[in-house]
């Protein structure tokens, strides 16, 4: 984002936005540093669920978040709230603390939340048991509303529901609110709680893998669902945890679930993000791919990266952490962004846990061996894509 005029109704490119605090909650751990350790060690948090196996799904694998010290972040009353609500609030409070702030209260603060399923877990509970108290909470926006009330956010509140690109798009919209001067501070959260009906849907589509995914490899057979949340606190600042230099979004306009086979939508999002950031392909040191492990996603994403970055695409280490944390849907873009920032601050290129079965359609460097040292890494590209053909690309700068 090149410098431009700030102001609610002014036109023009926006300035970079500082990332002051981050948080992440996943099956592989809580906190970006903890998750990064698991990624570097190639330890997957994906497990077989006997409950799912008993239901007869093609895949009974899942990466669920185990209990963590929620009571440190939530009051007694808040602990009784539905799981999606608690995830959003925990992630936001962790990021606020990481930013060194006591609170985000006030009308000059915004909350932008990205999710694929919202609180549909509550809808499921209500349908199973009409006496279930959760009807009012069974909406896409209820977790956002709960967190906004608890945090005292009196500025703009938004819920982005753009499937698996929701987290990355939430970060982009939150940054725009800060950059244009609408608010002084914005919190972007991405989350999704695992839900059996979402599992059933992906299973029916044949998108779930019966084993730990092998992204970008010839034997890849689908994704494994995870769950989690992540948050970032954004201000017009130098950014203690890094900066969002630019963002780009696009639509495939091709198919409601399948990605554009040529990766044209991903390519457009990358090009827009680079233009927005004032950077070129030569400036990119690391790519955090969407990398779900489905046949079509990984091939099209590789094509999109090559189309947008040209020859430079073959020189940049690419990785995906989905074999470690699962596909966390609306949380994916943000969890992966904060882990990328953590990796860059340690000057390391994370590896991809995958197989050795080379696929000629995926012919880039996916860092399939050990972690690599990147002593001069400064700038990374984070990619996300989702149902409906929604794509997002973020250009992130290390602190």
């Amino acid at each position: 984002m090149t410098p431009g005029p700030a102001g609610l109704n002014n036109a023009g490119p926006l300035e970079p936005v500082g990332i002051e605090g981050v948080s992440a909650i996943s099956a592989a751990g809580v906190g970006a540093a903890a998750i990064l350790e698991e990624v570097l060690a190639k330890r997957s948090a994906i497990r077989e669920s006997p409950e799912l196996a008993a239901l007869g799904f093609k895949s009974a694998l899942v990466a669920r978040v185990e209990a963590f010290a929620e009571e440190r972040w939530l009051s007694g009353e808040e602990l009784a709230a539905p799981r999606p609500h608690r995830m959003v609030l925990c992630a936001a409070r962790m990021a606020i603390e990481d930013a060194g702030l006591g609170s985000a209260r006030g009308a000059n603060s915004a909350l932008v939340v990205g999710t694929s399923s919202g609180a549909m877990t509550e809808l499921v509970g209500h349908l199973r048991d009409p006496e279930h108290a959760g009807s009012r909470e069974a909406s896409y926006f209820a977790p956002m509303a709960f967190a906004a009330r608890a945090l005292g956010i009196a500025g703009p509140v938004q819920t982005v529901s753009s499937a698996c690109a929701s987290g990355a798009i939430a970060l982009c919209l939150a940054a725009d609110l800060v950059a244009c001067g609408s608010v002084d501070l914005a919190i972007a959260v991405g989350y999704d709680a695992w839900c059996d009906f979402v599992h059933a849907g992906f299973d029916a589509l044949g998108a779930l893998s019966p084993r730990i995914p092998t992204p970008f490899r010839a034997d890849r057979s689908g994704l494994v669902l995870g769950e989690g949340a992540a948050a970032v606190v954004l201000r017009r600042s130098a950014g203690r945890r890094g900066r969002l230099l630019g963002a780009g979004m696009s639509g495939d306009a091709r198919h409601i679930t399948a990605p554009d086979r040529e990766g044209a939508g991903v390519s457009r999002a990358i090009r827009a993000a680079l233009a927005d950031s004032g950077r070129t392909a030569r400036d990119i040191d690391l790519v955090s791919a969407h990398g779900t492990g489905t046949v079509h996603n990984d091939a099209m994403e590789s094509r999109g990266i090559k189309d947008a970055l040209g020859e430079r695409a073959r020189e940049i280490p690419i990785h995906t952490i989905k074999p470690i944390v699962g596909h966390t849907l609306g949380a994916a873009g943000l969890i992966e962004a904060v882990v990328t920032l953590a990796a860059m601050s340690r000057r390391v290129g994370p590896p991809t846990l995958t197989s050795d079965a080379v696929d000629p359609d995926c012919d880039l460097d996916y860092t399939t061996g050990e972690p690599i040292e990147l002593p001069r890494a400064r700038t990374a590209l984070k990619l996300s894509s989702g149902f409906g053909g929604s794509n997002a690309a973020l250009v992130l700068e290390a602190p």
């Binding site: 059996d196 029916a204 457009r268 409906g388």
Partner: protein, 249 residues
């Protein structure tokens, strides 16, 4: 300021997309009612698809989005068993399905996003579309707002202790372009954010209500600036848009 160069409106009641739009995509039969409403509003704003891709953004806003399809999908699973989920219906449980369908039907390849922020999601979508154009993220943006009436949505509102006022369903679409665009119907700007007074009553207007009112006002000929506001008593969210008559060149 950002110009509104086209607008479409779908009032509550029986809709027959195919009767009005004979060349509507064949896939229409697979989509749900909220997608039909969004597609028809987009068609009434844009006319027939140009047959080529355009880098226009789609920003879809809805309060309940795909809630109805979610309920039906899950009830079917409960009846038939989890292994027999319907793969053709599952994509429409995703709240951004309407945004994807509009982009596919009209070849719109700009940013594609769905906002389900609450009962103010309609004007929230208009404001977000305006920001995308003002910041240069898209040369034009189509804000599409829709909520569908159904037994399931009525049950949800009742279960949540809410009473819907205004239209039971509907849709609106507005094409936003940079200020000075040819054929501007009006200009839109963003009102400074003012936190809403916490609501105590159970009344809510569905997401399209304020956007539909905005389109009606444009059509009736604006004489002076008007502010349109929408708020969500459950979420505390609010969106306010100032609409001004188009500048004469």
């Amino acid at each position: 300021m950002t110009a509104v160069t086209a607008a479409g409106l779908v009032e509550p009641g029986a809709i027959d997309v195919r009767a009005e739009w004979p060349d509507a995509p064949e896939r229409l039969a697979r989509t749900d009612r909220v997608c039909h409403l969004a597609l028809l509003a987009a068609y009434r704003a844009l006319g027939a698809p140009a047959g080529r891709e355009r880098p226009v953004a789609v920003v879809y806003g809805s309060a309940l989005a795909s809630l109805t399809t979610n309920v039906r999908f899950y009830e079917k699973i409960m009846r038939r068993g989890a292994r027999l989920a319907d793969p053709k219906r599952f994509p429409y449980t995703s709240p951004n399905a309407a945004a994807g369908e509009v982009a596919i039907a009209f070849g719109l390849t700009g940013p594609n996003l769905a906002l389900t922020s609450g009962f103010h999601a309609g004007l929230d979508a208009v404001l977000t579309a305006r920001r995308l154009v003002a910041s240069g993220r898209a040369p034009a943006a189509l804000a599409v707002v829709a909520d569908a009436a159904s037994e399931e949505s009525a049950r949800w509102l009742s279960g949540a202790g809410l009473v819907a006022q205004g239209p039971a369903e509907g849709a609106a679409a507005l094409l936003l372009e940079p200020d000075g665009a040819r054929g501007a119907l009006c200009s839109i700007s963003e009102a400074p954010f003012e936190p809403a007074v916490p609501a105590t009553g159970p009344c809510v207007s569905l997401a399209p209500a304020a956007a539909m009112e905005l389109v009606r006002a444009i059509r009736s000929g604006l004489k002076e600036p008007r502010t349109f506001a929408a708020r969500c008593p459950l979420g505390g969210g609010e969106a306010r848009v100032i609409v001004s008559p188009a500048r004469r060149s």
